[in-house]
Amino acid sequence: MHPILKTMQTAPVPAPAVQVRIVSKLYGSFAALKRVSCTFAAGGFHVLLGPNGAGKSTLLRVIAGLITPSSGIVHLLGGDPLQRRDRIAYMSHAPMLYDELSAMENLRYFSRLQHPGANCDCTGSPEMALRAVGLDPTLTRPVSQFSQGMRQRVSMARALVGDPELLLLDEPFSNMDAAGARELVQLLLDFRTWPLAGAGGRTVIITTHQYELVSDVADSVVEMRAGSIVIPQAAAA
């Protein structure tokens, strides 16, 4: 590689964490995403807004690699989403937890799963993650007996425990009490500054209907409507 190009790459200019290029998603004849293009800078706190049915969740799932787009490409942390699974975490509407296990058991399982090679000393982190989201790690009740908001907190902890570089959150605050939601926004801000091996820094993309919670802290806002991005308006993509 040419030495100049090399210098440019290692320069601390943040490369985009996610690049979505002319992505469409069709369900039958219904277009949930219509030629969506956007870029999310690494290390940023990005907010995805839009009315119900706009396609926010669909876009997030496309980025996570859970949905294959009908056309278009997604670049993630400089590569294919499927190759970057160990560095991203996704939290959806559904809690993605085993009902019969306690919160700690769930977290321990998922953290081991995300880092199969890790030694056992990493098991301290599920407790930390639970404390971080405001839950008591000593609760032995199975999560099926948690209240809706408590389950959502565990789900958030599940996303954090894998120590991801890119965090995709689909309406993480929807069932949380107001004080809790504010604390979790703070947590997410802190999260971005956790030490990280790679360059670039940690990135957060969240969708929410409570914009007032994140309006002060958002680095960028993307607004969708009926499957298209309306803000920022596409220049000439």
Partner: protein, 226 residues
């Protein structure tokens, strides 16, 4: 090594879930007892000992097939609930480890059933095997694995509604038939003493190897098929 550790992680999780929905063992035991009784009721084996001997291989395996089907459905339904499956699809660890872990867990469950079933079966059917009983030590695990590995795989196929058409009997049916046939024939051979089961055992072994390989290779595709 890491791969094996992941398999063990999944296996332990499945065992723990099963254990949590406590009394599972008691429930299974009772369940198999019932299956035996229902079959016996329907056929009156003490009345027709020869017929009973001829039928019992088939009865045993159809009963186990039924028990296994139930266990398999339960075990995947758990992953589907709350969309945990999405978490697996997102995870960096190999998909086939999930499959193997689950198949092993199901193997353990069904084996426990078999151990409990054997004496009850013998008493209620008034059975005295006429062939070499020690072959059963080979036939039972091989046959169980054949049922379980295919069952786990095909139950997973049905997980996404998009794939459900694939799970239609037309697809699943011809695939499981040879294994079931082999194991039933081998068992009948042992019980009646009419013929040697070796040929069928060899066939079963081949079947197990081929299908385990195929399932492990294809499972990632199934899991990630949108």
């Amino acid at each position: 090594m890491i791969y094996l550790r992941t398999v063990w992680l999944h296996l332990r999780k499945d065992l723990r879930l099963e254990w949590r929905s406590r009394d599972a063992i008691a429930g299974m035991l009772f369940f198999t007892l019932l299956v035996t009784v229902v079959f016996a009721m329907a056929f009156d084996p003490t009345g027709f000992p020869t017929l009973a001997r001829q039928m019992s291989g088939g009865l045993l395996w159809v009963g186990l097939l039924f028990a296994a089907t139930t266990a398999l459905n339960i075990s995947w339904e758990r992953e589907r609930r709350n969309q945990v499956l999405d978490a697996h699809r997102m995870s960096a660890s190999p998909a086939s480890a999930l499959f193997l872990g689950k198949a092993l867990a199901n193997l353990i469950f069904v084996s426990v059933i078999e151990l409990a079933l054997a004496p009850v079966f013998a008493v209620f059917y008034n059975l005295h095997p006429l062939g070499e009983v020690r072959w059963l030590l080979l036939i039972l695990p091989l046959g169980t694995w054949a049922i379980v590995v295919n069952g786990t795989f095909f139950a997973a196929l049905g997980l996404n509604s998009r794939n459900r058409e694939l799970m239609l009997p037309a697809a699943l049916f011809p695939i499981s038939i040879p294994a079931l046939l082999g194991v039933v024939q081998a068992t009948t051979g042992v019980i009646t003493g009419d013929f040697e089961p070796q040929l069928w055992i060899r066939m079963l072994l081949g079947f197990d190897v081929i299908f385990t390989t195929a399932c492990i290779l294809l499972f990632p595709t199934v899991l990630h098929a949108e």
